[in-house]
């Protein structure tokens, strides 16, 4: 048991048990106070809503790990979504076939990856600050999308896309399955591969990484490129869920993705972070939101509660390192 918890902590991060406790607390709290909270319909709606925010948060996570940030996640996702939408429309809109969809997905990911790579290269090779570079990229991509669409939305997609956005396999919503697969992939990428190791080292100390032979510039460019591909995946899922694409869609989620990363214990200065605790944080945020929604509160109150929740968690984390070590010694 002792060895098992130790191993679990090493693989998934030490924040996970605490966050799982908070998640359980949230579920039990809402379950006792809110009728219909513990219903299949509610969990279904959580599972359908989570993937948008979840995939975007994964896209945010990797750059933060590298000591940077990607403020262009939403605009990259939108522009990638537009790419897919255009390719579908060029191939007959509602009549478009599966092949057009596959081509569209590949093109969309290429657009996301290229946007990310351009941003990463600006950061890595020009030494631009990630906040500024990604901010400029965000403004540029949003501008490009608005220029091309004139601010309107694109819709009219084939029916089989509904199966992706709203369908289920063995009772699991498809978007959620995509998100879980992406999260596992991201976990492996960041925790198990050479690239993930480089990212964490660069996040801790770029200079030392450079001196120890890590290809810092190439790795940084790759981080942002992969983040862009993940944005594209988010954009594709958003397209299938809303059956339309518009520039600026989901913009309110931008800082929520950062919030979710911090809640999941990712170091704001980079170097440290795990996918699993961020995953649990996302579950907490979505549970809070849907519980409040069932109580009749608006999305705005959820936003406020998310903010206050992050403050509370950070206060607890920073004010009680002693409490944590006490807790750990009791666990042992």
């Amino acid at each position: 048991m002792l060895v098992l918890t130790e191993r679990f902590g090493r693989v998934f991060g030490r924040e996970v048990p605490g966050l799982l406790g908070l998640l359980a607390l949230t579920v039990v709290g809402f379950g006792l106070t809110t009728p219909h909270f513990l219903s299949a319909a509610n969990f279904d709606s959580i599972a359908f809503q989570l993937p948008d925010l979840g995939l975007l948060t994964l896209a945010m996570l990797a750059p933060i790990m590298s000591g940077g940030i990607n403020l262009a996640v939403i605009s990259t996702a939108n522009l990638s979504g537009l790419t897919l939408a255009w390719i579908l429309n060029m191939n007959g809109g509602p009549q478009a076939g599966v092949f057009a969809f596959v081509v569209g997905v590949v093109a969309s990911m290429a657009v996301g990856g290229a946007s990310g790579a351009a941003m990463g290269a600006t950061i890595a090779y020009f030494g631009a600050h990630p906040i500024l570079a990604s901010l400029a990229m965000m403004i540029f991509l949003r501008g490009l999308g608005e220029f091309l669409t004139h601010g309107g939305d694109i819709s009219g997609f084939p029916d089989f896309l509904r199966e992706i956005g709203h369908g289920s396999i063995l009772g699991f919503p498809v978007p959620m399955l995509v998100f879980i697969a992406a999260a596992i992939l991201w976990h492996v990428l960041l925790a198990k591969t050479r690239h993930g190791f480089s990212v964490a080292m660069i996040g801790s100390n770029p200079q030392a990484s450079e001196y120890s032979g890590i290809p810092v510039k190439r790795s940084l460019t790759l981080v942002y490129a992969l983040s862009g591909v993940m944005c594209a995946l988010a954009g594709i899922i958003m397209l299938t869920r809303f059956n339309s694409v518009r520039m600026g869609h989901g913009e309110a989620l931008l800082l929520v993705t950062v919030l979710a990363c911090f809640l999941g214990g990712v170091d704001p200065f980079g170097g440290f972070g795990r996918v699993a605790p961020v995953f649990v944080s996302l579950l907490i945020l979505q549970t809070l939101s849907s519980g409040l929604n069932l109580l009749g509160a608006s999305q705005h109150l959820s936003t406020a509660v998310w903010g206050l929740f992050l403050i509370a968690v950070m206060v607890v984390r920073s004010a009680t390192p002693t409490l944590r070590s006490l807790f750990e010694s009791v666990m042992r």
């Binding site: 950061i123 600050h129 200079q207 903010g307």
Partner: protein, 332 residues
Amino acid sequence: MRDYLRTHEGEARIFVVLALLTAFLGFASPSFFSAGNFASLMNNSAVNVIWAVGLLVVLITGGIDISFAVAASVVQYLTALALLALGGGNWILGLLFAGAFGIAIGCINAALIAGFRIISIVVTIATFNALFGLLMFATSGKSIYDLPDWWTDRVAVVPLGAGGALALPVAAMVAAMAATWFLISRTTTGRQLYAFGDNPEGARRAGVATVKMQFIAYGWMGLMAGVGGLMQVNLAQEVVPNALIGRELDVLAAVVLGGARLGGGRGSVFGCFLGVMLVAVVQNGLNLLGVSPYAFKLVIGLTILAAISFSNVDLAALLAGGSRRRGHAGSH
């Protein structure tokens, strides 16, 4: 000249870019140098400059504030409610209320950052969400149009002939710039702010009261957020709770463009002004040249990207014939 370039590189670079741009627009569009265009350019940039100098003080201390635009909205709403409750009020009362509410919000940020040693970006993203959510929830997104006359009346401070006039927000901008310049360049507190931003631990050991520094920086940011919010109402003639959200990232980009360093210890009031004006002049120029408004953001994003790349090419070393490496990726 070489000395000035070494100490004010960011400002010098952006000044050159702005001068070239201004000269080009002067040739390309006859109305660019008209009094009316100058007045509207200044009037519309005033609020951003006020926020920019507030944010500058925070950046100098090594922090960051994402919440100020939302804070300004909260201040606008609270001030409007307080003044309406008092039966109208006047400019003095308005300034007092806006300043006090702004400082109060800044102090909340400072208390969380200094009291619990949480990173400023985490705190202000949390307060951003909390404040915005609470504001939208409490007001149900309703705007206030029924404002006292003194608040919404245009006040021509410097008449510029038939072409228009510099309005009150410009006067407030000049006052904010002068006050901020005095604070950071002419007082002991200002030197301490720079020292604290450059090396917090070193400053602490040298006897700088670090907690006080945080309160001064975020309090000043709050004051500027409040004053800027007050002036924004004078321009827009209405209080719309979600009108200012998103402006924080534009202002942040402008301040960093103007030579302030994310990570602390560097930045000037003049640089802030130049940074805001660069973006404003680009937008104004596109307008005058008859470019489609849909292309504005595209060009602004490209301008910022070009400016970042340009500002990381070593100009002083080129002039001096030496070689000096500036900046590195992922630094905070």
